[in-house]
Symmetry: C2
Subunit: 393 residues, 2 copies
């Protein structure tokens, strides 16, 4: 009935956009291991390892720390459908696409949402959150730690103190920060958080790490209404990941292998070394981009080490340049999202991909793309500036 | 902070329970291919291939045929949250765990559910559905095609005719049937269906194939309320899988590779040959089990070719025998679920695992387990009966 289906031969892309990033080759190999059942003692041990290793990267002691069987957006939905009941008041901070998505997800869960807006590419100011919390008296405040659409790294400690004082929960989106930059769940007083596997964890997309402290867990277990999603209902799922081992749904076995392997890689490197590596490579990339004439998009001093955003320079066309990089250099970079569409590029240096070689490769290919687009460039300026950063590290 | 995390070395299990089944080795290898982005032209082509190949196994022309980014239960939830609006009347047929789960999922989506019950291990009688449909006048009727908890294969054509006459939608759970036994979406007049990858498709768990005809799709696109799940909202997701290619969430890339490869394997074998293979091996297994003194659990003439269920014989203990098979033979079989817990075993011969070698291996290991449990057996009786089936095929 159909055409023939040829052998699978994906190109060897260098994924330097907003994610997915390239998985560590060890992680890809782990997925080729033979399947065991979802209630096999060996798989239960893998789940235990994953919980323990996720606690390590989340820097938390939270018992309810595990991976949901969906991508990062399923993690977002998990947090809202479990913590929110119809009519609950929720404050959501919005300075990019993923804040906007939280508003939508929270409303679908029945929340009465108040939005704290900030300009895209800027952080959310704690004073604004304080105002909203005082006037709304919400059940929870939700905020994005690493806004993938803009490249902003949001400070959280002051906002956490505001939530503590008002006795409301603090929910944080760590999709693009976890494993690439400090995420201190316990020290910062974050009550619930979620992430995805395909960014700084260097694992394929497909699982959503989540963590809930005892306060958040108590809110879930004292709900008046059933969680509206059966698939994401933590009142049941906690009993599959917990001692009871009650069957809920068939876990994605191979992705569980992959998660364990990527977390082992992180554990071997150590968080401190990993964060330093992300920071250094981001500094080199930014120096190189500036030397090539780019203006950075995200607020100075609040830029994500895992994702650098920059205005597309005048005289350079968005789509054709990204196509050139993809087709000629096998490099994927990200276009802008929402307000940044057509105007901004997003360069990811995440996990396994945050290396000097990738910084230099990207800058070299960008220079070639500029030449191809007929833009005047100072040959080697970007590379020289990046190398200078490495020399002075 | 934690113990050391050793190299991943899962045992080479033979998964002869209710799923997951062993993935085809080609499928495991496909997952080790390097990642591309979720909007890469190469991945969009893979999505197109997957849609086209899923239409082949679902035997449908439905445009909206694709894979949701979750396991089979996410497929179930997709159907209900998209087709049901609060207050809608729904008839759900229940003769096992997965019918029960549909009731729960439908109610969480706001449905007013009327249940048509049948004894576990028996089919749902069309006359009972007719009565319910005539009295309730529901928006949709939901039924399980292959009840994984009991091993029943449900006939659907008569029930479909009842739904057509009453102008209500027919929704079918094909988790354990798709790829192992006929699923004729178009010919049988099924409006929406879902499945999982980890049964007869011989792919790891993690994706949920779904299909909706134009009638069901029109219901979705004319909704008065937003779909309560953002993650499973087909009004948006259809625009990522469709021509528009709007970004919704980051697709699980490696699982997309795996799905394509398992579907290619099925396409190469051909549905007719595949179904005949499943039928023959199930017949041999049943003959062998009977010769060993087992009594089958599911209704005669309505037994699934992908999953055989039998009462655990007297003098044989459930848990210790399954443990013996797992630890000594690396074979996983399934215990009973719900009403069958501790009383029933479930033997899966799904996709790649439906082979003569596996039938004989299982019967041999069961005989050894019986001896180990001190049960008198007629040596070789099961094997002889199975071989007789193959000889006469």
């Amino acid at each position: 009935m159909c055409n023939d289906y040829a052998e699978l031969k994906p190109s060897e892309r260098l994924l330097l956009g907003p994610g997915p990033s390239n998985a560590d080759p060890r992680v890809l190999r782990a997925m080729a291991a033979p399947l065991v059942g979802h209630l096999d003692p060996e798989f239960l041990q893998i789940m235990n390892d994953n919980m323990s290793l996720l606690r390590y990267v989340f820097q938390t002691k939270n018992e309810l720390t595990m991976a949901m069987s969906g991508t990062g957006s399923a993690g977002m939905e998990t947090v809202f459908v479990n913590l929110v009941e119809p009519g609950d008041k929720v404050v959501v901070c919005v300075n990019g696409v993923f804040g906007q998505r939280m508003v939508d997800v929270a409303q679908r869960a029945g929340a009465e949402v108040t939005v704290v807006n900030a300009p895209w590419g800027q952080i959310i100011e704690a004073a604004e959150v304080k105002k909203a919390v005082e006037s709304v008296k919400p059940k929870l405040v939700a905020i994005v730690h690493a806004e993938t659409s803009t490249g902003i790294l949001q400070p959280l400690e002051e906002i956490s103190a505001i939530c503590k004082e008002a006795d409301c929960l603090l929910v944080v989106d760590c999709v693009t920060s976890l494993g690439g930059v400090e995420v201190k769940i316990d020290e910062w007083g974050i009550d619930a958080a979620y992430s995805g596997t395909q960014k700084c964890l260097s694992c394929p997309p497909g699982l959503a790490p989540v963590t809930f402290n005892e306060k958040a867990r108590a809110v879930i277990n004292k709900r008046k209404n059933k969680v509206q999603s059966w698939y994401l209902d933590l009142t049941m799922i906690q009993n599959y990941w917990g001692q009871e081992r009650f069957y809920h749904h068939t876990a994605p076995i191979s992705m569980g292998y992959a998660l364990r392997e990527c977390l082992r890689v992180i554990y071997e490197e150590g968080l401190e070394a990993r964060f330093a590596r992300h920071k250094l490579n981001a500094e080199a990339l930014k120096a190189g981009l500036k030397a090539m004439g780019f203006k950075l998009y995200a607020q100075e001093g609040r830029q994500l080490p895992s994702l650098t955003t920059a205005w597309i320079p005048e005289g350079v066309e968005d789509a054709s340049t990204r196509k050139f990089l993809l087709n000629k250099y096998n490099i994927e970079i990200g276009g802008g999202l929402g307000e940044g569409k057509g105007k901004v590029w997003r360069f990811g240096l995440m996990g396994h991909n945050s290396t000097e070689k990738n910084v230099l490769t990207l800058l070299t290919a960008l220079e070639a793309a500029f030449v191809y687009q007929g833009k005047t460039v100072e040959p080697g300026a970007g590379i020289a500036a990046a190398l200078e950063v490495y020399k002075n590290k």
